[in-house]
């Protein structure tokens, strides 16, 4: 194929066109590579290479001075990782606190946004109602706006004398100081039943340096406001996915159910819901993947405070590297997070490949809604 390399894209084909069908495609090998080169270069330089470099840094004690690739940087092997999991200390405590916070965050955000998205899609898909287009747009609008700008608005809404507390006041309730309250919601709930001091069995020990009582705190009051914000921004996107799926549900099936005397609930439960199963899997796994990446909102609204109850692994990795200048530990944290998300992604791909069969390609490129 030596002659191929002579023809550059954009120039006329070298020599008269050949008769063979391959002739027309003769310079495509070069053109193809030239066409993809910029993208490959950028993605390689800023996606692939960084991962390898960070993997190296996570094995060092680099403090941000000079280059991490010289002999001066102490090589510490797996120390950064073992400090996160096995060694008792602040690093493990913070990391495990972040993991705990994120688990509660995921545990609330994913189910609520999925159910809300489905509910909104069902209402908006109802053919008896007019003006649905407007409401679809209204529900989706928060998803396209800047996460930082929205966080500013929610800071105001959840301020001590803010709109949310005013609203609660109208209902006769005293709102908390949202962003100063680090108490866990489950602890508060137990407190309402008179359990104020934890049983000794729960405070005496627990896995990974946190006591059982700490693990069982629930999301903090501060975290709850971030949870509200995220559910509010992401359910619109997922609503659209459900809506697209609902519009593919054949009307005939629903009508057949109706003829068989099935109630509205039965038709939803036994006809519509099973047909929406692939979409539900998609929404749940995308939600899981997105929820482990929460960063912007934490950065703007709470910076991990109060009492580290809004700390998440993504934010902790940023803070460890760029505030404490412990790039090795920061990179190690982001690798653990990477692993969590990759497992979830592979799980999603596998599910989609199984469930969606020939249409698989369409689902490959689901982007995770920003900041979810």
């Amino acid at each position: 194929m030596a002659t191929d390399t002579l023809a550059a894209p954009g120039t006329a084909p070298a020599g008269p066109p050949r008769r063979r069908t391959g002739g027309i495609r003769s310079n495509e090998n070069v053109a193809g590579w030239l066409f993809v080169a910029p993208v490959i270069l950028i993605l390689g330089l800023f996606m692939l290479l960084p991962i390898l470099m960070a993997l190296w840094v996570s094995l060092t004690g680099w403090n941000g001075q000079g280059s991490p690739f010289t002999g001066d940087v102490p090589f510490v092997g797996g120390d950064n990782y073992s400090r996160l999991f096995t060694e008792d200390g602040l690093a493990r405590r913070d990391f495990m606190t972040a993991i705990r916070n994120n688990i509660y965050y995921v545990g609330i955000v994913v189910p609520v946004q999925t159910v809300l998205a489905l509910g909104l899609a069902l209402v908006v898909n109802n053919r008896l109602l007019k003006g649905k287009g407007f409401f679809r747009s209204a529900f989706y609008f928060p998803s396209v706006t800047s996460s930082v700008a929205i966080s500013v608005v929610f800071l105001f809404l959840f301020a001590n004398s803010g709109a949310v507390n005013r609203l609660l006041g109208l209902l006769g309730m005293d709102g908390p100081e949202w962003f100063a309250d680090g108490r866990g919601v489950l602890h508060l709930l137990l407190g309402a039943f008179g359990v104020d001091s934890p049983p000794a069995a729960l405070t005496s020990g627990g896995p990974f340096g946190l006591t059982w009582w700490d693990w069982l705190s629930g999301p903090s009051v501060a975290m709850t406001s971030i949870i509200c914000l995220v559910i509010w921004t992401t359910s619109g996107t997922f609503m659209l996915m459900y809506l697209a799926a609902l519009q593919n549900v054949p009307v005939a099936l629903d009508e057949a159910g109706m003829l068989d005397g099935a109630s509205r609930w039965q038709r939803f439960r036994y006809v519509t819901l099973p047909l929406l199963k692939p979409t539900t899997f998609l929404v749940v796994t995308l939600g899981l993947i997105g929820s482990w990446q929460v960063f912007d909102q934490v950065y703007v609204m709470s910076q991990g405070d109060p009492a580290k109850t809004t700390l998440t692994p993504a934010y902790l990795s940023y803070r460890t590297a760029f505030r404490d200048f412990d790039y090795g530990s920061g990179a190690a944290i982001s690798f653990v997070l990477f692993l969590i998300i990759i497992v979830l992604t592979l799980f999603q791909r596998r599910l989609m490949a199984d469930r969606d069969g020939p249409r698989r390609g369409r689902w490959w490129r689901r982007r995770v809604p920003e900041g979810s």
Partner: protein, 294 residues
């Protein structure tokens, strides 16, 4: 403002009328209006409070009517903060990133869809794999690369890493595959080179996909926050989200100046909001993998 076209409604059956249906419809509208308020009222509050005085915003945060109405918050945004600078930086980054992405993603998408070259299948698999890389874990790595190649703290550092995105390549590839080959073959037989065929024949036919990609790139780069956090440090290079975050958490302290902060956030939202109102269906296509409409 219709987002998705409805199926043609079947002929109204008896079940659509009668008292039960009326109750259902009533409930339906109730739900719609309730959630409509939940999703839109925060924006109303934002607008209203950005036009209030500080004591008024603190005393009546829920009220949609500023009393008295004042532009003081906005005046302070332009006079007392670096807002104009952030706006300029955001515009520059967004325009360059959008143009670059649309062009580079189309090139790569076209090659992956149409050109037969060795390694194509492998490259496509790599693009798919890249889409799975979570952005948040790349914060430290990106910083490392930018530092190493000397782009840290520069416009190039803000822009270049965003110039290509795998998802855009995927959208364009899907679209190009849906265009009939015959047009290109005619052009090729007439003696047009590969780039010429791409530029003058195929690209004009890809208008819907190009608009989708333009809108998504604009929205994405306008709202981009974490990347600006790790690629620059110099306040002269802050983009709007970065400046806004700084405004909230840093220079002005917490808990005060709400009209100013809400106003700045509002101004940062307006461009995307305007685009959304005009080009909604392209946003929806982005959320719903529009390739199926081709």
């Amino acid at each position: 403002m219709a987002v998705l076209t409805d199926r043609p409604a079947p002929v109204a059956r008896r079940a659509d009328r009668g008292p039960r249906a009326r109750v259902n419809r009533f409930l339906g509208y109730g739900v719609l209006i309730f959630f409509g308020l939940v999703f839109l009222y925060p924006f109303v509050i934002q607008l209203a409070n950005s036009l209030k005085t500080e004591p008024d915003a603190a005393a009546n945060p829920l009220s949609p009517v500023p009393d008295p109405l004042t532009l003081a918050g906005f005046e302070r945004i332009f006079a007392g903060t670096a807002f104009p600078l952030w706006l300029g930086n955001s515009l520059l980054v967004t325009v360059v990133v959008t143009l670059g992405r649309v062009f580079l993603d189309s090139l790569a998408g076209y090659a992956l869809a149409r050109l037969r070259f060795r390694g194509r299948a492998g490259l496509f698999a790599a693009v798919i794999a890249v889409m799975a890389v979570p952005g948040v874990v790349l914060l430290i790595p990106k910083f490392l690369v930018l530092k190493q190649i000397g782009l840290y703290d520069s416009y190039a550092g803000l822009i270049v890493p965003l110039l290509a995105d795998a998802a855009g390549v995927f959208i364009m590839k899907q679209f190009f595959e849906s265009i009939p080959v015959s047009m290109e073959e005619a052009a090729r037989i007439d003696g047009a080179g590969v780039f010429r065929t791409f530029w003058s024949v195929v690209l004009p036919m890809a208008r819907p996909a190009l608009i989708t990609l333009t809108i998504l790139s604009f929205q994405g780069s306008w709202n981009e926050f974490p990347h600006s956090l790790v690629s620059v440090q110099d306040p002269d290079l802050f983009t709007l989200p970065r400046g806004l975050a700084d405004l909230v958490s840093g220079s002005l302290g917490k808990g005060t100046q709400y009209p100013l902060k809400l106003g700045a956030a509002l101004l940062a939202t307006i461009p995307v909001a305007v685009l959304f109102v005009i080009f909604q269906r392209y946003f929806v296509r982005g959320a719903n993998e529009g390739a199926d409409k081709g």
